[in-house]
Every structure is written in structure tokens, then in C-alpha cells.
């Protein structure tokens, strides 16, 4: 990693990364890029999120699905851990709760492959601050 030497540098880097993330995924597989985020905070891990993440990594690869599996922090639905967020291309992300291996398998087989919802969806009940809209 090289150092970021100025604010202008930092802005450039941000712009690259912002589009870069999308471009990277889309460039790889424009039709079928799937993003899976696993909530890996203490409560998630304690409920087995690690196993779930490994499962996705392994099975998506084995089932030949081009997908990016990443970890993230607590989504706030501690009662429903492990929780994951799945984003299919061009669609709103969907959060699933109580994801055990059986449900993970369903999610891959049904939701990711066919777009068909499976049980255990958690309705997102918050709004995140829009960071791009700055005060003048």
C-alpha cells in the first residue's frame, strides 16, 4: 500500500474505490454478480456466522456462482443472528435472519439462483445518513 499524500489524493482514491468496487464486480461477471455480506460481530460469530460465511465461500464457488462474499459489522438484528445481506444485481438488498446451513443452502439454491424469496427475510427498518449530500 502506498501512502496517500494529500486531500486531493484521498478524493481521487475515494472516487476510484467507489466506482472501482462496482466496476470490479461487474467487469468480472456482468450478468451474475452477487454480493453476500455476513454480519461478523461478536453476536453473529457467537451464533455461528463464521460457519455460514465459510459455507457461502465454499458452496458458491463449488456451485459456480460468481459472487463476492464479504464480512461486515453488526446490522443490529441481534435477535436474529446469524444475519446476512444478499444483493442481486439490479435489485435492492435483502436481509435474511436466523441463517443456519440449511437456510444458507436454500438462499443459494432459491434466492441467488432464481430470485425466489425464502423464509426468514428481515425487513430493514432504518435509514442511513446520506453521506454524499453535504451542507454547503
Amino acid at each position: 500500500m502506498s501512502k496517500i499524500l494529500s486531500l486531493a489524493d484521498l478524493k481521487k482514491k475515494r472516487d476510484e474505490l467507489k466506482s472501482g468496487l462496482d466496476i470490479r464486480i461487474k467487469a468480472l461477471n456482468p450478468e451474475n454478480s452477487v454480493q453476500v455480506k455476513v454480519a461478523m460481530a461478536t453476536c453473529g460469530i457467537a451464533s455461528g456466522a463464521k460457519t455460514v460465511m465459510e459455507f457461502f465461500l465454499e458452496q458458491l464457488d463449488r456451485r459456480n456462482i460468481a459472487a463476492v462474499v464479504t464480512q461486515t459489522g453488526c446490522m443490529g438484528y441481534c435477535y436474529a443472528e446469524p444475519t446476512i445481506e444478499v444483493k442481486l444485481p439490479g435489485q435492492d438488498p435483502v436481509v435474511y435472519g436466523f441463517v443456519d446451513l440449511k437456510r444458507a443452502d436454500q438462499i443459494i439454491e432459491k434466492y441467488i439462483k432464481t430470485g425466489e424469496f425464502v423464509d426468514g427475510i428481515i425487513p430493514v427498518n432504518y435509514e442511513t445518513v446520506d453521506l454524499n449530500n453535504k451542507e454547503e
Binding site: 461478536t42 453476536c43 457467537a46 451464533s47 441481534c78 443472528e81
Partner: protein, 160 residues
Amino acid sequence: MSSIKIELRKDDVDFIKGVCASFNNDPQELINVLHSCQEHFGYLPAEIQEVVSEGLNMPVAKIYGVVTFYSFFTMTPKGKNPISICLGTACYVRGAEKVLDEFKKELGIEVGQSTNDNKFSLSSLRCVGACGLAPVVLVGDKTYGRVAPDDVKNILKEYE
């Protein structure tokens, strides 16, 4: 006038001295030094505190004062499978005390004690932050969520 003899193995003494040195033998780093020592030895018996006292050039009474102040530090070795029951509020209102009682009954020991075969030791702690899984029990690094008193026997069986 009797001076205490501190008996330790040479590599243990070297380890402790090394930890102290890695923190510049600075008494302000005492808590970090104790963390490192407890991580290595599992507990902080008097002998270790004496060596730390020499390493950091500070009175051992002060070190003992710090060790006994913080609940994370212990002077007794833990069992092979340390069991911790979370008694944070979320776990408490969901019945953690009854789970703790069950462990006490099953193991025949009180909080802070180890079983005779040193297989298990029992402790309580305040909130591991997994309130969604309340009541929570930790055995070693493994977390058990939504534990009911009836589950206790099965959990213990895993370690037989």
C-alpha cells in the same frame, strides 16, 4: 526477617523479564504486562508478580493491589474448560441465574472454583455483548446461546 523465596523456571523468569522489557520496564505499562503474563501462564500467581515487580522496579504490593482490583486478572489457575455464565442484565432477566444454579449443582462447585479433577471452572461475567442470544454461556472460546437450565447437562457432556 525471613525473605520469601520465589521459585520459577529460568525460561519463565526470562519470559516475564522479556515482557517487561518489551514495555520499556515502565511501571505505567503494568496492566499491559499483566495481560501478557496472564495470557501466557493462564493466571498470575505470587511468583509471577514478584518477578514483574523486579522487572518494572515497583513494589509488589502495588502489583498485588492492581491484580486484585481488576476482575479480569486471577491468581488461581482456571480449569481445563473454563465455564463463564453471563450475568449481564439482558441475560439475567432471561433466566441466567437459574442456569448458573444448574451449573453449580451439576459441577458441585461455586463461582470462582474449579472441579477436583480440574476439568471445569466456573465464573460469572457481565455482558459479552451477545444480548440477542441471552442467556449466554461460554465454555472456553465456544459460545452457547439461549441456554435453559435443561441444556446444562448436555453442554457438560460435550466435554466428557
